[in-house]
């Protein structure tokens, strides 16, 4: 096993981790603000991927415009999900929201199957993004570079937004204590809506990247990455944005290294590995790496 091979695996892990991190941020923000594990978050990834497919290949729009439209449209999808399903049951026990999000997820997946059929579709990015770059024995495609850089840019933008703007302050206040925040004159509905919009926008972009990276998409594609991103959020500490980013990279790297470094016979067990990690982390350090102690769930 050469150093180059390991370096290659690390790069692959970072690419996968970037996508996990983008999705995990949304999970973590939504959990932070209304204590909801939003299962439907992964399906926004699927919607983003299909939007990209439609705009890029059917409509032939330029790449940057596609990315912008996906960003905005996914944000709108997030707002619709929040308004349609979660707002009417705000204040209900946490498990109620969790069941509802499962229902929303199954609804979106089957709407996808109904409209787009379950047949996987091929997905090709423009040629200049497919070019293979070789750097000191480690090779990757231009699209991988774009994934990593744009993920980093988006994450920085989000952290700035949450820490430096008035809306971000409102979000942090609401996450801290929703009732006190309301007393301070913060518009809770608008703040929660903004949280869903931002989280979903990032998930939609992750969908665009997912399609570009793996080259094939189907209506169920969001489910497993969505779950794994939740695992990433838990690893980092649910509710913390830096935690979600860290968790995403940790999970991406360890998953790729698990498959790449162990004998091939184990690679079929990668999902079992990820979810055993989840259960272990929930049991041993439920606050994750960077999370605050969580309150007792009801």
């Amino acid at each position: 096993m050469s150093g180059e091979y390991i370096a290659q695996q690390i790069v692959n892990g970072l690419i996968l981790g970037s996508m996990y991190a983008l999705v995990a941020i949304g999970f973590s923000m939504i959990y932070g603000i209304i204590r909801l594990i939003n299962f439907a978050h992964g399906d926004v990834v699927m919607i983003g991927a299909f939007l990209t497919l439609g705009l890029l290949q059917v409509a032939g729009a330029p790449f940057l415009i596609v990315a912008l439209v996906v960003l905005i449209a996914s944000a709108i999808v997030g707002i619709l999900i929040e308004k349609g399903a979660f707002r009417p049951m705000r204040g209900a026990p946490q498990v109620t929201g969790f069941i509802a999000s499962l229902a929303v997820s199954i609804m979106l997946q089957n709407l996808g199957i109904l409209v787009l059929t379950a047949q996987p579709r091929n997905f090709t990015f423009p040629d200049y993004l497919q070019k293979v770059i070789n750097m000191g024995g480690v090779s990757f495609r231009a699209v991988d570079l774009v994934i990593m850089l744009s993920a980093l840019t988006l994450m920085c933008a989000l952290i700035l937004l949450v820490n430096k703007t008035k809306l971000g302050m409102a979000m942090r206040a609401t996450a801290e204590n929703i009732d006190v925040a309301r007393l301070m004159g913060i518009n809770i509905n608008r703040t929660i809506m903004a949280t869903f919009a931002m989280g979903s926008a990032l998930a939609g972009i992750a969908g665009l990247m997912w399609g570009g990276k793996f080259g094939q998409i189907d209506p169920l594609l969001g489910f497993v990455p969505g779950l794994k991103s939740f695992v990433a959020a838990v690893i980092g500490g649910v509710g913390s944005i830096p935690g979600a980013i860290l968790g995403g990279y940790v999970l991406g790297l360890s998953e790729v290294l698990f498959v790449g470094l162990l004998p091939p016979i184990y690679s079929a067990f990668r999902d079992a590995f990820v979810f055993s990690t989840l259960i272990l982390i929930l049991l041993i350090m439920p606050n994750g790496i960077l999370g605050k102690p969580m309150e007792e769930g009801t």
Partner: protein
């Protein structure tokens, strides 16, 4: 007086059921009969999940995982020896074993219950939706293990050509046993401690309820019946694959419990009938009109509406009055 009235009502219901089974078996065709069998299996699943989820408030998505364990164990035990050696690489004692269905399904249920004990001991320290996520993780781990344990499970191909043993004379008694056990638990002091944990575990603990033991028991009892249902299911469909026991199945069972009313046995019973009949109605519709997925969309929409407008479900935690005596009211 009350006790005897209660017994009479139960006896009357059981006899009514036997009459119903005898009637449908002689009148309706194979297709309808298989649907009725499925309905029975769904009733077992919903009522048993109700012990875990409804009574004790342990939100478990792992039910299909226990079902898969029961199903595979039963299937391997009843598989004819001649075909076993063709498909599977089993240890000698297992390869030469061919069991009748009934003991095999009991062993399947016991294996599922033991697995619930092993999983429950660590995982049941979690609460609320964290428990739900952990049990979902368990479900996925079970699927991955079954898919990759080729020598025993034939991996993704699954076991097919199982003897078609399950009929209503097997399903119906298990429905009765499941409902009876659930009923007995609900109206015993044990059931009351389960309900008290659901309502407020801190208060329950203060009153001397052993939280952990009661939670584990609720999970184990639920898992046993899930394992039985898995065995019945495998020998009704005559094939069993890892994808049969998926999250969508867990979702359907949870829908039945939530819509029926968490804690209500009659509610789970009726909701199981409604939803399994609904899926059967949607299936030909989907195939003829090429609208795959419409059944799931419809079910999910009903669930969301129920959660918004009637979160306690159809029955809440109650049972219909004519089934109750004064001491159970």
């Amino acid at each position: 007086m009350n006790q005897s009235r209660n017994r009479l009502v139960f006896l009357a219901l059981i006899l009514l059921g036997i009459g119903f089974v005898a009637l449908v078996r002689s009148t309706v065709n194979e297709y309808i009969l298989s649907i009725i069998n499925f309905v029975g299996i769904y009733i077992i699943l919903a009522v048993s999940l109700n012990i875990t989820n409804g009574f004790t408030g342990l939100f478990s998505l792992g039910h299909p995982g226990f079902m898969a364990i029961g199903g595979y164990v039963t299937a391997i035990l009843t598989f004819p020896v001649s075909r076993k050696s063709m498909f599977l690489e089993l240890p000698q004692w297992l390869a030469n074993l061919e069991m009748p269905f009934f003991p095999a399904s009991i062993i399947g249920g016991v294996c599922a219950a033991m697995m619930a004990l092993v999983v429950g001991l660590p995982v049941l320290r979690l609460r609320g939706h964290y428990l739900a996520v952990a049990t979902l993780g368990f479900l996925i781990i079970v699927q991955v293990l079954i898919t990759n344990w080729d020598s025993v499970t034939r991996g993704p191909l699954g076991l097919n050509g199982l003897p078609a043993i399950t009929n209503l004379w097997y399903v119906y008694p298990w429905v009765v046993v499941t409902v009876y056990v659930a009923w007995k638990i609900k109206f015993s002091s044990y059931g009351r401690s389960m309900l008290s944990i659901r309502e407020d575990d801190m208060a329950a603990q203060c009153l001397g309820v052993n939280l952990f033991r009661t939670r584990v028991a609720a999970l184990v009892i639920g898992a046993f019946f899930a394992g039985i249902a898995g065995g019945l299911w495998a020998h009704l469909v005559t094939a069993i694959t890892p994808t049969s026991f998926s999250l969508i199945l867990a979702f359907y069972i949870v829908v039945m419990v939530v819509v029926g009313g968490a804690g209500s046995i009659s509610g789970a019973f009726i909701a199981a009938i409604i939803f399994s009949v609904l899926t059967e109605i949607f299936r030909p519709l989907e195939e003829n009109l090429d609208v795959y997925g419409i059944g799931e969309i419809f079910t999910a929409a009903i669930l969301i509406l129920i959660l918004i407008y009637r979160p306690q479900g159809l029955f809440g935690s109650r049972e219909p009055g004519f089934l109750l005596t004064r001491d159970t009211q």
